[in-house]
Amino acid sequence: MKSYPVGTLERKTVILGWKLIAPTVIIISLLILYPAVYNIYLSFFKVSLNPAIPNQFVGLKNYFGILSDPAFWRSFWVTIAFTLITVIGSMLLGLGVAIMMNRNFYGRSAVRALILLPYVTPLISSVFAWKYIFLPLNGPLVQFLASLHLMNPGTDIINNPNNAFIVVSFFNIWRNFPFVYLMILAKLQSIPSSLYEAAEMDGANWWRKFMSVTLPELYFVIASVALLRGIWNFYKFDEVYLLSKFAGTLPIYIYDTAFAGIPHQGIAASAATILFAVMIGLITVYVKRVLKW
């Protein structure tokens, strides 16, 4: 137990501290903690959209309904695959680029600024650019790939439920690798060069130095950034939905259930609860195994 000051001036200071933090605490509890609990509550109800009709308690019916819905399970596995692909992809690309940018070369500052563009540019702008380059027949990237005989120029890969998920994963990697790169580069630059010098004295080659010095030094950063990216991509809605409504991840399933066609917000709430529970489970395992806290 820490001891806290009790004198009147100190008492005043403590009260001031509480006053200053109060708006934050109120906003976060009212608009994040309360809704999170309310979401679980709603998941046991048939939620009515008409304020005059009260919600109807249905017990676990929403959960049984979802767990026996093949569309839910499809979305679930697509979400898991999407998260794995995008996290691994953006981590590898980010690491590679960070190592490249850690070297001095002509035009480095310009390239560094340019690399951040995908991350900084408003989502809606990048989405339209991507939709354009993937247009069937006319899209420049489609034409290029077709000229290499890598794909049939007539296929609409964005609006096809079978491929949409792949394009969306690529888009996510393209858009988010700069974040990974920035975090890794910052750590890379703080590795003392004496470590490398020592390794060189021992006759280590480039690969050996990378494996025995760089990677261990980066381990914690890589693990934490992967965790952040994993959380964000698991919940990712806008990037996926705006590029392709057919990508079929769980957040899209929830959004469509809650707000499109005939809304079933109780069912959406129970899907969100399941998503959250899975997320907490995965994070707990990850934190114990990988971050070793």
Binding site: I28, V120, F128, F237, I280
Partner: protein, 322 residues
């Protein structure tokens, strides 16, 4: 590190850098070049086509698009109106203008709505988080650690989890029925979403300012709260601008809640909602969509490039949230 590199190694390194630049910039290059084309050239395959600023002029309302030009029927009405007495003439003209406005590409309206929402939400979040960050980086009191960790926990609750309950809460208190109240709900939600980043980044920065400066001000008769505004805030200006830009970007990009709350009120669409709706409508002309995308991107990219040094430091200082 001095090392001899063969020409071959250097060349392959630069090739790699070149490939990276192409990978990053490819979609933007097309976006730019299409935005300077005429409508009929929008889908042609060469990179350069006939250059025009038409799309931009139309978006900014400097030039009327074909759709906006008066239809024959409207022209007749217009000529007829000239012969009518003044009071009737005004009524007819009003009707014509109203119909004309309907067929406009309301880009500037979307732009204003986004600017208003993102700008104000970032500002409000900045005020709340300056106070909050000061509190937990400078003042010791019971419960401080819990609050600090609690703020981080917010990362676990994405919009995906909160969309249904937040909509239900705002609908219950009647904030979804009227466009102004819907905008207010959005303002509150954007402020909420930007709060954790702002708190975290500012808290980290405040810890680097020596307390003795504040102490001196307090000894000179400044109150503690006065010291925040007169000493801490001016000294943290780079961090504050960084946090503001970052929070602004979050609001400028937000789609999920905007699409839920303002869907019924087209006049209140923000850029992401408006443009994605337009994409599915009669206005979806690629050249214009691309010009709109460029204009949407420019303010943010310019802000970012101007502040790049501070912003990248801010990202890596740890406080980041999407």
């Amino acid at each position: 590190m001095v090392r001899k590199r063969s020409v071959w190694k250097t060349a392959s390194f630069y090739t790699l850098v070149g490939l990276l630049v192409i990978f990053v910039f490819y979609p933007f290059a097309w976006m730019l070049t299409i935005s300077f084309r005429y409508n009929i050239d929008a889908l042609k395959s060469g990179f350069f086509q006939k250059f025009t600023l038409n799309q931009y002029e139309e978006l900014f309302g400097l030039k009327q698009s074909i759709r906006q030009k008066l239809s024959d029927e409207q022209k007749e009405l217009y000529n007829l109106a000239q012969t009518l007495p003044k009071s009737q003439r005004e009524a007819v003209l009003k009707k014509i203008y109203k119909e004309q406005r309907k067929s406009q590409f309301p880009f500037l309206t979307y732009f204003k709505n986004s600017l208003f929402l993102a700008g104000l939400a970032a500002f409000l979040s900045l005020i709340v988080s300056i106070l909050g960050a000061y509190s937990f980086s400078r003042i010791r009191y019971p419960g401080r650690g819990t609050i600090q960790r609690g703020v981080l926990l917010v990362y676990l609750f994405g919009g995906t989890i909160l969309m249904v309950p937040l909509y239900q809460i705002f609908a219950k208190i009647g904030m979804t029925s009227n466009p102004n109240l819907a905008m207010l709900s959005l303002l509150i939600i954007y402020m909420l979403q930007t709060l954790p980043v702002s708190l975290y980044m500012l808290g980290n920065y405040f810890r680097t300012i020596p307390y003795s400066i504040e102490e001196a001000a307090i000894i000179d008769g400044c109150t503690r709260v006065g010291a925040i505004w007169r000493i801490v805030v001016p000294l943290s200006l780079p961090a504050i601008v960084t946090v503001y830009i970052y929070a602004f970007m979050i609001g400028w990009n937000e789609y999920l809640f905007a699409s839920i709350f303002i869907r019924p009120f087209p006049g209140y669409y923000t850029l992401p909602v408006g443009l994605s709706e337009l994409f599915n409508s009669q206005h979806a002309i690629w050249a214009k969509m691309m010009a709109a995308s460029v204009i949407t991107a420019v303010p943010v990219v310019v802000l970012f490039m101007a502040m790049e040094k501070y912003l990248t430091a801010g990202f890596t200082a740890g406080g980041v949230k999407e």
